[in-house]
């Protein structure tokens, strides 16, 4: 038997808090509860088994433009009263902000998502352990030079509810599972590392063979890699790398950054900011997206937003706060607890050609298969970026020798303009952005 949806109980708790609002106060309560399992296998044995239960409540109170928040890791009634009292006390120290306020229901229809799967709950512990063991076994069988660092199964189930004095009442639950494996490849001279993963709403959706294959491939393909010479090149970003860049670009197309003078695209609305090949959407309503959701962190309907259309900047994602301050409608991208706005499920609209077809048309270039230190190397305010990378050289249309220990650098502004092709190989990844092969001209490569 699977358990019933108890998120309604959480909504009752949230509503109880909201009912305690004093006249002139806006109150928001966000209540959540989760259960997760993590199993790590090493050399055919369970190395650790973690069973985790958590619950929390976050309360935000706004009065006269001042905001106070408080949170607590338990749902005990006595503690909740203290959390509300603390949030009230805290708002006294904030400064009035004329735009402060909770989200208001905006009538935008919720696109229902199937985020819960009963069969995952019914999966036995034994089956979960076997999956992690099988992944380790398949990975080791993939290549004699491979060792497995750890093979992991994890799953998580969460339920959450949000209620506000402005009339928001939402509750729901979600679960999913994840397999991952870390690999080491040795050739006698050196060691390289790789990883593979699979995600699903239930264990039958986990593509375990692919996870094993990719973990072997990622580690072995870098064996014997050398450091390339410094020069300017055309790069092809592997879908997984593109997705990591997209997450950063998404962070700059954010109404909160714009109103606070921190977005490099602040004055560019309606202007060409990217190659006309680029159309960038944030679409959490697409059920294929790993981060698909029906509501945002403020309880409003999640929705499809086109941020860049054919290279022209068309929209910033907004929280209710940034939207109010910019005099625009919200886009359903508020973060939990009023902590800003964020993209939920970014995607570049794909082109037509496969990565192999793209590579065949490049005389001199490099296929970037992994990046390291992207977050420390990108300044999303100035746009400067520089990242460690590894990949394969492209010579006369074919993939050649592996290279590593070099950086690629440009600015985000230039890189978007220099996009020369978008691949047709859309990949849904376990992150808030999807991947696709991307060709970018004139990137500085620093190596030897």
């Amino acid at each position: 038997m699977s358990s019933p949806d108890r998120s309604a109980e959480l909504l009752v708790i949230a509503e109880r808090v909201v009912a305690m609002a004093a006249p002139g106060e806006q109150v928001e309560a966000y209540v959540s509860r989760g259960l997760s399992t993590e199993i790590r296998v090493y050399e055919g044995e369970v190395e650790h088994f973690v069973s985790a239960q958590s619950e929390s409540i976050g309360i935000r109170v706004i009065r006269d433009g001042r905001t106070g928040t408080s949170s607590c890791g338990t749902l005990d009634a006595s503690e909740i009263a203290e959390v509300l009292a603390e949030a009230r006390d805290n708002l006294g120290y904030g400064e009035p902000d004329e735009w402060a306020g909770l989200a208001e229901p905006d009538g935008f229809a919720v696109v229902p998502q199937s985020l819960w799967n009963d069969s995952l709950e019914l999966t036995t512990t034994q089956r979960k352990i076997e999956l992690a063991k099988l992944l380790e076994k398949l990975t080791l069988a993939g290549d004699s030079r491979i060792r497995v660092d750890d093979s992991n199964y994890s799953d998580a189930a969460g339920e959450a509810a949000v209620a506000t004095t402005t009339g928001i009442r939402v509750a729901g639950r979600e679960n999913g599972c994840y397999l991952s494996v870390g690999t080491l490849a040795d050739d006698g001279n050196e060691t390289q590392t790789g990883f593979g993963f699979a995600v699903g709403r239930n264990v039958d959706e986990l593509d375990i063979e692919r996870a094993a294959r990719e973990a072997v491939d990622r580690a072995t393909r870098l064996l014997g890699a050398t450091k390339p010479d410094s020069r300017r090149v055309t790069v092809v970003l592997d879908p997984f790398v593109t997705a990591q860049f997209l997450s950063i670009i998404g962070g700059t197309l954010n109404g909160e950054s714009v109103v606070k003078g921190r977005s490099l695209f602040a004055q560019r609305m309606g202007e060409t900011v990217a190659s006309s090949l680029l159309t960038l959407v944030d679409d959490p309503t697409n059920p294929l997206a790993y981060t698909a959701t029906d509501i945002d962190g403020e309880g409003l309907a999640a929705r499809r937003n086109v941020l860049i259309q054919d290279g022209v900047l068309s929209k910033f994602v907004q929280s209710s706060y940034s939207a109010r301050r910019m005099g625009l409608p919200t886009t359903g991208n508020g973060r939990r607890g009023g902590s800003g706005a964020g993209c939920l499920a970014l995607q570049i609209l794909p082109g037509t050609r496969s990565q192999a077809e793209i590579v065949a048309g490049i005389d001199d270039g490099i296929l970037i298969q992994q990046v390291q230190g992207l977050h420390s190397g990108v300044n999303s305010v100035s746009g400067d970026f520089s990242t460690g990378a590894a990949g394969l050289l492209i010579k006369n249309g074919t993939l050649g020798a592996p290279v590593r220990e070099f950086t690629i650098a440009s600015t985000l502004q230039r890189m978007l303009m220099d996009i020369a092709e978008v691949g047709g190989d859309l990949e849904w990844l376990p992150m808030s952005a999807t991947g696709v092969s991307l060709v970018i001209h004139d990137v500085t490569m620093s190596g030897a």
Partner: protein, 463 residues
């Protein structure tokens, strides 16, 4: 927080399915955070988080469960889940008798931040905002955060240990944006110690604000960083994170045991320039990574990892030390009661050399002077690492000249350690850091004197 007789019964429950080790880690955290942005105190938040994690080890298998319910019933339920997860068959009754360890204090606290009014914390940030904005007309935005936290901890295990600790950390972060003809630039600085509110009697928050603003302003005039390999001089206190990444992680016994470290099997060998002596020191009073006991109850230690270039030892937690039949080194740490402990660093630093730092710069014909490093990461199996340079200058003919825009610095840990050819006598600790490993973040410190690396790859865009 929890009485010894309850801890004894919970540990016995953990051992009921035949396990050979059980542990309770309970913590109660309370903290305050204040954020300032866009000239306004945005919100003041307070939080509380308490709970216990129960670890049961049977042979090679670890079972772990955690609960926010610190009652005996809640702890017993978690112990049963952990024991079941680690079940090895067998079973039996074991009795646990606990001996409370004497309290140990590494960072004495004078003023518990929870006794300070919220208004005083808000006032610190207003001072920060004023100071950063007065640093120059080009400063267009300032954000700053203050946070403090006090965690009470109880650790008990089936070897009879019960240890208590109380940890206080106080942190200030400042980020400034400057706007010039060539676009926006950012500057960041932070201050964090295992100290109470007396921290602000010793350090003027205006200095932290001006440092952040100064970095942003300097970069307005910056030119693109070079691209390619050059000598790099790293200012004292700004590059300890390089050692944390470039070799510290590779000296963690859990990674070594799995062969995921380039330093496996290298104890007793020359792994660095003979100039380098590297230490991990949890006892360094008031530093961000200081701890009286680690999160397994073991007292923190001063551990020499590399002495005059020779690898002397790795860092150890309970599990790895037990497997090797050797003592722990006080490096078993975890993010919270919800997490399993792992081998982690504390304060990792390079001891002083003998040279005058000015001579090191004077003797460098052409290169890069790094005055502030941002975050970084390492692949411990290959030693390849990456760092962001957040404040750097060109060195031309032995003199520091023009500021550089941001870029990454990359290299290979073992190679860089061998390539250190000059070491200054001006040791300083760096900014407070958060070290991430396997999804867990823990507070760490780092430091070094001014030093030179013969050649590193600078990932700029200038040819």
């Amino acid at each position: 927080m929890i009485d010894n007789d309850i801890l004894e019964r919970v540990l016995a429950e953990g051992l009921r399915t035949g396990a050979d080790f059980a542990e309770v880690f309970a913590s109660d955290w309370r903290g305050t955070g204040v954020g300032l942005d866009d000239g306004k105190i945005e919100q003041l938040s307070t939080g509380r988080n308490r709970g216990a994690g129960i670890r049961v080890i049977a042979g090679e298998t670890t079972g772990f469960a955690h609960t926010a319910d610190l009652s005996e019933a809640g702890l017993m339920a978690a112990a049963r889940v952990a024991a079941e997860a680690a079940r090895q068959g067998g079973g039996g009754i074991k009795v646990v008798a606990l001996t409370t360890q004497a309290a140990r204090i590494v960072s004495p606290i004078k003023i518990d931040p929870s006794t300070i009014g919220k208004a005083a914390k808000v006032d610190l940030l207003r001072r920060v905002d004023d100071a950063a904005r007065s640093a120059g007309g080009a400063i267009t935005q300032v954000s700053a955060g203050y946070s403090d936290g006090r965690t009470r901890i109880v650790i008990a295990n089936s070897d009879g240990l019960v240890a208590h600790d109380e940890r206080v950390r106080t942190l200030l972060r400042v980020s400034a944006v400057a706007n010039g003809d060539a676009g926006m630039q950012t500057g960041f600085d932070s201050l964090g110690h295992t100290m109470g509110f007396e921290l602000f009697d010793k350090v003027q928050v205006e200095d932290v604000a001006r440092a952040a603003a100064g970095r942003a302003l300097t970069k307005l005039k910056a030119r693109p960083a070079p691209s390619g390999s050059l000598p790099v001089v790293i200012k004292a206190g700004s590059g300890g994170v390089l050692f944390h990444e470039a070799c510290g992680h590779g000296l963690e016994a859990d990674l070594v045991a799995k062969g995921a470290s380039v330093y496996r099997g290298k104890v007793g060998e020359l792994v660095a320039s003979p100039l380098v002596t590297l230490v991990d020191d949890g006892t360094m009073t008031h530093e961000w990574g200081a701890i009286a006991i680690d999160d397994e109850g073991h007292p923190s230690q001063y551990n020499v990892l590399i002495e005059n270039g020779i690898l002397t030892d790795y860092m150890w937690d309970y599990l790895r030390a037990r497997k090797e039949g050797r003592p722990q080194s006080g490096n078993g740490r975890r993010q919270s009661y919800k997490d399993l402990p792992m081998v982690r660093m504390t304060n990792t630093y390079v001891l002083n050399g003998e040279e005058n730092p000015a001579d090191i710069i004077k003797d460098t014909a052409n290169g890069v002077y790094v005055a502030h490093l941002g975050g970084g990461s390492v692949n411990t199996a290959t030693g390849d690492f990456v760092f962001g340079m957040t404040e750097a200058y060109l060195i031309e003919n032995g003199e520091i000249t023009e500021p550089l825009r941001e870029g990454n610095l990359i290299g290979n840990g073992p190679q860089v350690l061998r390539d250190i050819d000059r070491l200054g006598n001006d040791f300083a600790m760096g900014n407070p850091g958060t070290c991430g490993k396997d999804g867990q973040g823990v507070p760490v410190g780092d430091g070094q004197p001014t030093l030179r690396v013969k050649s590193m790859t600078i990932g700029g865009t200038a040819s």
